[in-house]
Amino acid sequence: MTSEKIRVQDLNLYYGDNQALHDIQLSVKKGSITAFIGPSGCGKSTLLRTLNRMNDLIDNVRITGKVYVDEQNIYDNQVDVVQLRKHVGMVFQRPNPFPMSIYDNIAYGPRIHGIKKKRDLDEIVERSLQQAALWNEVKDRLKKSALGLSGGQQQRLCIARMLAVDPDVLLMDEPTSALDPISTLKVEELTQTLKSRYTIIIVTHNMQQAARISDYTVFFLNGHLVEASETNAIFTNPKDKRTEDYITGRFG
């Protein structure tokens, strides 16, 4: 039995007067891939963004309840958000490379965390790009702008950039929704090679994707967590009627 990496307890989230998450309870196992599924606006991305406190950046967000990462409640006052985000990396829906060279994109994280020696940076850049299966495609143009890469390459660059700060949890917010099928396949394959070392949570609109790559699946509806189970179980034998309706395509 693998141990618990993240535990969400009695989590409520409000945008102003509007409650977006209701009383969420969730446990995520170390070294697994968990998929969050559900229709648009169900709160799955919002929940993902509470796990690295990305919602802190938005005005009028109020959160109650607890989120434990490695037994530490990340909403405790003494928690250092910078350290938290080093451990809990995030990839976004649309690739968002910085307008700088490929090398500088990857080196950005290590640099802000104090790594200055060129040899160390070179090594991190190469290792991260290898891990993201991008090295062979870009090794001859590391000094070129990252904006010249294709969408799929940009997204893998963003994954490499996240890996460069050496996190142990990877949050992926619909990472393939802006990509073509081949790039999508590459990113999916990547999640499989990464899962031995990292705990991955992926938000997806695509149920086949969830079925293909995840160990556990969590279904959300209108800000409520409806069902969380092993992926196989959820897709073959959903316990809740609403889950069944959703995965059989009756709504959503």
Partner: protein, 285 residues
């Protein structure tokens, strides 16, 4: 019908573009043609390298004014840019929205204040203050630079703030998600990404600074002498043109020399703008 309107409008737009271009080029041509005639009576070496401007005795050295314009513009930018960019960062990234809603229109309002008002403020506030501090009359390049800095600050601030705000939020989030602090995000991601916009603001400010005559003339002292200190009267291209033009006859040597100074002013601002554009395009990756 619609096709004809389309063609007609196309014609209208081409005509207005041509018209504007023609006007601009005629101005440059006219100023240039008048200016170049100076060289019938004055050698280029004297005009560009002599500091002796005594038209009554036929000495037409304009070096004081050329250097003065550079010095004044440089100083004004030196004073204004740090505050303007800092203010832009504050308004775009730190200020709560209600503060921004008050300050932003106020800043835009400042852009529209006539320069004579700034000149008056300089005359009654800065000149006595500098005079007291330096033991002089206070008229000079420092007072002018301070006034210009205040004048161009809102322009640079306003354009820079727009540039910062138009940067996609996703870039910012990408940086925060890697564990960057707010200041790291601003310094390493947002400012570089906004730098073309910030630079545009600086160019606009610079254009206003180098071309400003009224406010500068009120506080700079208007003596054709190289400045020896913050409170020593001097003169720049614009102020000298304003001062001497009404007293000169069209076609006389001094009048031509003033046109030549206008041409220099025009070319200097053109070159500065091009230079900054080149630097900016090099810095982009």
């Amino acid at each position: 019908m619609s096709k004809r309107t389309d063609r007609l409008m196309r014609g209208v737009f081409i005509a207005s573009a041509t018209f504007v271009s023609i006007i601009i080029f005629s101005i440059i041509l006219f100023v240039g043609k008048q200016g170049v005639q100076t060289f019938r009576d004055v050698s280029p070496a004297e005009f560009f390298f002599s500091t002796d401007w005594t038209p009554l005795e036929n000495r037409y050295g304009a070096l004081v004014f050329i250097l003065g314009s550079f010095l004044l513009t440089g100083l004004a930018l030196l004073f204004a840019v740090p505050f303007a960019v800092g203010g832009a960062i504050f308004l775009a990234k730190y200020a709560p929205s209600w503060v921004r809603e008050i300050l932003r229109p106020a800043v835009d309002l400042f852009v529209g204040i006539p320069s004579v008002v700034y000149g008056l403020v300089g005359l009654t506030v800065f000149v006595p203050w500098i005079g007291k501090a330096t033991g002089t009359a206070g008229f000079g390049v420092l007072a002018a630079a301070l006034i210009l800095a205040i004048m161009i600050l809102p322009t640079i601030l306003s354009v820079s703030e727009d540039a910062l705000r138009t940067i996609s939020r996703s870039l910012e989030e990408g940086s925060y998600a890697l564990g960057a602090t707010r200041w790291q995000t601003i310094r390493l991601v947002l400012l570089p990404a906004a730098s073309p916009g910030v630079l545009t603001g600086i160019i606009l400010g610079m254009g206003r600074a180098i071309g400003e005559a009224m406010a500068v003339q009120m506080v700079i002292g208007n003596a054709p002498l190289l400045p020896t200190g913050p409170g020593s009267p001097t003169s720049v291209l614009t102020t000298e043109i304003v001062k001497d033009m009404p007293n000169s006859i069209f076609g006389s040597t001094v009048n031509n020399a003033l046109f030549l100074m206008s041409l220099v002013l025009l070319l200097v601002s053109l070159v500065l703008i091009l230079l900054i554009r080149v630097i900016a395009s090099r810095r982009e990756v």
